[in-house]
Every structure is written in structure tokens, then in C-alpha cells.
Amino acid sequence: MAEAIIESMPLSRQVRTNPAAKNADAAARVAITAVAVFALAIIFLILIFIFKEAKDVFFDAKKRDQVLPTLFMMPANENQAVWTPISKNPKYSLMPMLLGTLKTTLVAMFIAIPISVLAAIYTACFAPRWVREIVKPAIELLAGFPSVVLGFFALIAIAGFMQRLTGADYRLNAIVGGIAVSLTAIPIIFTIAEDALSAVPKAMQEASYGLGATEWETAFYIVLPAAYPGIFAGILLGLGRAFGETLIVLLAAGNALIVSWDFLVPTKTLTATIGAEMGEVVYGDTHYNVLFLIGVFLFVFSVIINSIAEFYVKGRLMKKFSGAA
């Protein structure tokens, strides 16, 4: 792919007579190609590595018989743990973590989408220029926040507040974790949505005003629909960020593998399980392979989400919409 990009460069136009300059060009081309190939190679190697470490779950007969029958098992009662890799009778069910990831991600998106999209509409359509120039970088700054700090904040401030508010038995639960995770998704969704809204041609807005629409009507019925593909892409990228988050949920979501739709019980996500257990797992053990299998799941999920955002939304929808504009 990198080759193709290089090939397409207008080399033929570089009619140079100086051989030294030609050589320098060639060297630079090789260097840049190497860097691009290297970046791709790393991603590939990671992929191969994760699959290699997880493959025993499928290809080693003994491990397969141990893992696969329990991989998606549901608990018989609410006390039964279905993830018990260190046990006389090991079970490797991913259900509690899948559900945990789903719960925290839902909470996070439920909070992040309205806040970030509405904030983007405000800065793009209503705010005076100087406000926009302060607000936008300020929210984007949040994206650079180390997640450990957000996790901490959730653990200390949000957890206590939410417990008083909800009266939940458990201080740390999926809601607390989800709220903290939403703080990481908000800047991503906001930035991309804001860019999409700002990119809507001014002519459309002016036409709308010309027909007598108010500012509000223009923002919601003209600009918002036109920017929809970009906003959707932003939401997908925010989603990817939210469900890949590890440290925050590890700190703030309570870490218990309960299969339940109750959002107020402690929760452990796919990522948190890897984070908590990988450090001490016995190398090459079944437990180790299954942790990598979780890694494979996460990889596949994020590839799917990012591909939709990248190819479908940015590629097709956006072209279609801007073509219409």
C-alpha cells in the first residue's frame, strides 16, 4: 500500500539534471517508504502475536475441551462465578466481562453523545468566535488527560456522590465507571462533530436564513443533518475509545464478575480483566491463552468499529452528503 502511494507521486515531473539531488530524492523516498512499511508491519506483528498466544485455546485439544464448553456459559444462580481460571474446576466464561463492557460503554455513550454533540452544535453554530476559540481547545485538552487521573477522580469524587444520589449498596459500579469513561469519549466525539458541523458550507446556512429560518431552525434542521456522517463517525470513534478504556474501569467500576443487567452492581470489563490478571498469570497456562483470546476479541471489535467509522462513514456517507451539498 505504501508502495502504491509512493508510485502515485508525480516523480516524472521532477526533471532534474543534478545527479546528487536525484540520489537524495531516492534516499528520502526509500526512508519514507521504510517508515510507512514499518508502521504497518508493527500492527501486523501485534496481530499475529496476539493470535499466536491465543491459538492454543482452539488448537490444543486439552485446552480446547477445558475452555470452549465454558466460554459463554451463564451462571446457574446469581452467586455462581463463571470466570474461575484458578480453581479445581476452572471456568472461562466471558459473559460477565462482555456484559460489563457493554454496561459501562452504554452508560458512557448515554452521557457522552448528548453532551458532546450539543456542545459541538453550540460552538459551531451559536457561540461567538472568541468563545469558540476558548471552548474548543479546552475540551480537546480533556482528551490528553491521563486516564489514571480520571479514574482517580471517579474513585474519590464521583463514587461518593453517586452513592448518596442513588443509595446503591456498592460504591463502585458500572454507572460510576461509565461516567468516568464518558469523560474520555466526550472530547473525541466533540472534536469530530464540531469539525463536521463547521465544515457544512456557509451557503446552506445563508440560504436557510434567506428563507426566513431562525438560527435555531438552521442549526437543527439544516446544519445538523448535513453534518450527520461526521458526527456519526465521531460517535463511533468515541465508542471505540470508551470500550477500550482500561485503567478507569479498573479503578472505578468495582471489579466483580457478576452477570447482571443491574447497573448499580460492581462490574469488570474485558480490558480490566486483562489489565488485572495478565501481570501475574502463569506463562503459557490456559488462563494466559484465554486472556489473549480476550485481547483478540477486543482487537476484532475495535477493528470493526474503526473500519465502519473510517470507510463507510467517512468514505461513503460523507461523499454522498457533500456531493448533495
Binding site: N79, A81, T84, V148, A256, V265, G275, M278, F299
Partner: protein, 327 residues
């Protein structure tokens, strides 16, 4: 404020995988950490473990024992300026794997080695692993300081952790849900608790896992309805319950006498494991650890010394068996 330390314990307990921005980064971190493991394996094939001469002696294993190991090493290095000792944690399991791979000289473990692990060590070094109990530790069961409960039976404890009992009312307390805290499943304390308290049953689903005893203590001190377990050395700011073997038995609080004599029901030995031939710097160090001075440090750190009668000099008995086995 205590939760701050809880958080720090969290961070400290975590390795490469957490500072991730997205799954991609997790994958990368895993790659890195495993690359490190791969290096270990290569080294093991070389056969000669480090610290033969000039290199520092490495001691690796149980997180419970890291502080103890550090105190020992500090004092010992002050006395013997020629010796360098490196202490690292990672968990008993990690330490044992390191011993099997030949990347550590001494493994610290808070649980006895399993049979399969002993066999692997034997395959690597050609003789049985040398096991030396170096300290005693009691597993205390903590509740919040305001909790009216003072004692608990082993059966009740088992039922709380398997999830059969979920309300303090069943123990004579207030009508409140019990918030149950435990350790991550790779910790030696987890394994010990599962074996001795749960009698190999599985933990219930609602047990919230935390990295490190300090994190458990902090979580319990923040939560009036909570119960947790961990090393007796850590129980500050919470109350350690007295434990009854069964409902008829006397309740025994964890303490120096009860743990050293073994009347406290959930006490364990902490071990050194040595794979290669027991001599030189390692032998001197272990002998010093078992001496009056070394065992005095055990007490200072908050664990309990090995009772005197058990204090057979390791060179005369265990090392001999190790030597004969190697022939």
C-alpha cells in the same frame, strides 16, 4: 485520603497493560511485556543462572513478601558491602516461573509450590527444589471499625465468600448487604484463602477483586458494610475479626502468639525457594535471614518469625538432600 493510597496501590500493582489509550495500545503493551518474557526463556536455555560472580543476587516472587525482602536486603547489604541483592515482586506464581526459567536465584513465595512446579524445577536443575520457610504470616479478616461483629466462624467466612451469606443480619449484625472484597486470582493470598477457607470451592461472583492487601484494607476502611482479607501486618484502620474453627471453638484473634503457635486458623508459612546448588552468597544470605537478626526484621516488618524449634540450619538438612539429589 486513604483512597489515594488505594489508587496508588492499584497503579503499582499493574504492569504494562494499563496506561493504554485504546485496545491497540493494550496489544502493544502486551507485546512488549511478552517480549520481555520471551527474553527470559531464551536465557533459561543457557543453563547458567545469573549471580554466579559479580552479578547481583536476584530475589523475585510474592508481592506479600516484597517489603520483607527489601528490608532484609537493605540491612544485609549494609553489613556486607560486597553483596548486591535485587528484590522484585510480581506474585508467587511469577517468582516460581522465574525460578523454573533460571532468571532468579531465590524465589519468594507465599504458598508452597505445587507438585507440577516442583517437577519443573527438578527438570531444570536436576535435583529437588530447596524449600525454606522464612517467616509466618496470618491472614486476617477485616471489617470496618464501626462494625459490631467481633468474631466469625470458618464456616460463616466460607459462606460469605462463596456468596451463600450476603447479609450481615445472618451473622447477628445490621440488616445490610455484605460488600465482599478479595484479591486478584493470581495472588498467593487468593490461592491460600481459597484452599484453606473455601476448601477449594469457588469464590462467589460478587467478590470485588483488588490488587494488593493495602487496597483491600483501604476499601474496607471506607465502607461500613465491607469485609476483606489479607496479611495481618496490614490491618491498620480496620478491625481484624477473631476466628473460630467451628461454632463450638474458642474465637482466636490474629496475633504473634496465636499465629506462631498455629492456634489461629488461617496462618501460613512464607517461603524461599532455591533451585541451584545451595552455596556461596545465597547460602550466606539465607543463613543470615534465619539468624536472630534476620528473624528480628521479620517482626519489624509485621510478620512473625519461624518458631525456634523449626529453625534448623538450612545447610545441614535441606541442602544436603539437595546435594544428594543432584548426584
Amino acid at each position: 485520603m486513604t483512597e489515594l493510597t488505594f489508587g496508588i496501590a492499584h497503579i503499582a500493582a499493574m504492569t504494562a497493560a494499563q496506561l493504554s489509550r485504546s485496545t491497540k495500545y493494550i496489544a502493544f503493551a502486551l507485546l512488549l511485556s511478552l517480549a520481555a518474557c520471551g527474553g527470559d526463556h531464551n536465557e533459561s536455555s543457557g543453563g547458567q543462572p545469573p549471580a554466579a560472580s559479580g552479578e547481583p543476587m536476584s530475589i523475585k516472587g510474592s508481592d506479600t513478601m516484597v517489603i520483607l525482602g527489601q528490608k532484609w536486603a537493605e540491612t544485609y547489604m549494609k553489613k556486607n558491602s560486597g553483596t548486591r541483592i535485587q528484590i522484585s515482586g510480581g506474585g508467587s506464581g511469577t517468582g516460581i516461573v522465574a525460578l523454573i526459567n533460571g532468571t532468579t536465584d531465590i524465589c519468594q513465595a507465599s504458598r508452597p509450590m505445587k507438585k507440577s512446579e516442583r517437577e519443573k524445577v527438578k527438570a531444570k536443575y536436576g535435583h529437588d527444589v530447596l524449600e525454606i520457610p522464612v517467616a509466618k504470616d496470618g491472614i486476617a479478616v477485616y471489617v470496618h471499625a464501626d462494625n459490631p461483629i467481633r468474631e466469625i466462624t470458618m464456616q460463616q467466612l466460607e459462606k460469605i465468600y462463596t456468596g451463600e451469606i450476603s447479609n450481615w443480619r445472618d451473622l447477628g449484625g445490621a440488616n445490610q448487604r455484605i460488600i465482599v472484597f478479595g484479591r486478584e486470582n493470581s495472588s498467593g493470598t487468593y490461592g491460600f484463602f481459597m484452599e484453606h477457607v473455601l476448601r477449594d470451592k469457588d469464590f462467589g461472583a460478587a467478590v470485588q477483586t483488588l490488587p494488593g492487601t493495602a487496597a483491600v484494607v483501604n476499601a474496607v476502611s471506607e465502607e461500613t458494610k465491607a469485609i476483606g482479607y489479607g496479611g495481618d501486618a496490614y490491618s491498620t484502620g480496620v478491625r481484624a475479626l477473631a476466628i473460630k474453627k467451628d461454632s463450638a471453638a474458642q474465637a482466636i484473634a490474629p496475633g504473634e502468639v496465636s499465629i506462631m503457635t498455629g492456634t489461629y486458623p488461617i496462618a501460613r508459612d512464607l517461603y524461599f525457594y532455591i533451585g541451584k546448588e545451595f552455596k556461596g552468597a545465597e547460602k550466606e544470605f539465607v543463613e543470615w535471614v534465619m539468624s536472630e537478626e534476620g528473624q528480628g526484621i521479620v517482626k519489624k516488618v509485621g510478620y512473625y518469625p519461624i518458631p525456634k524449634k523449626k529453625l534448623a540450619p538450612p545447610d545441614s538438612t535441606a541442602a544436603d538432600t539437595a546435594k544428594t539429589a543432584s548426584k
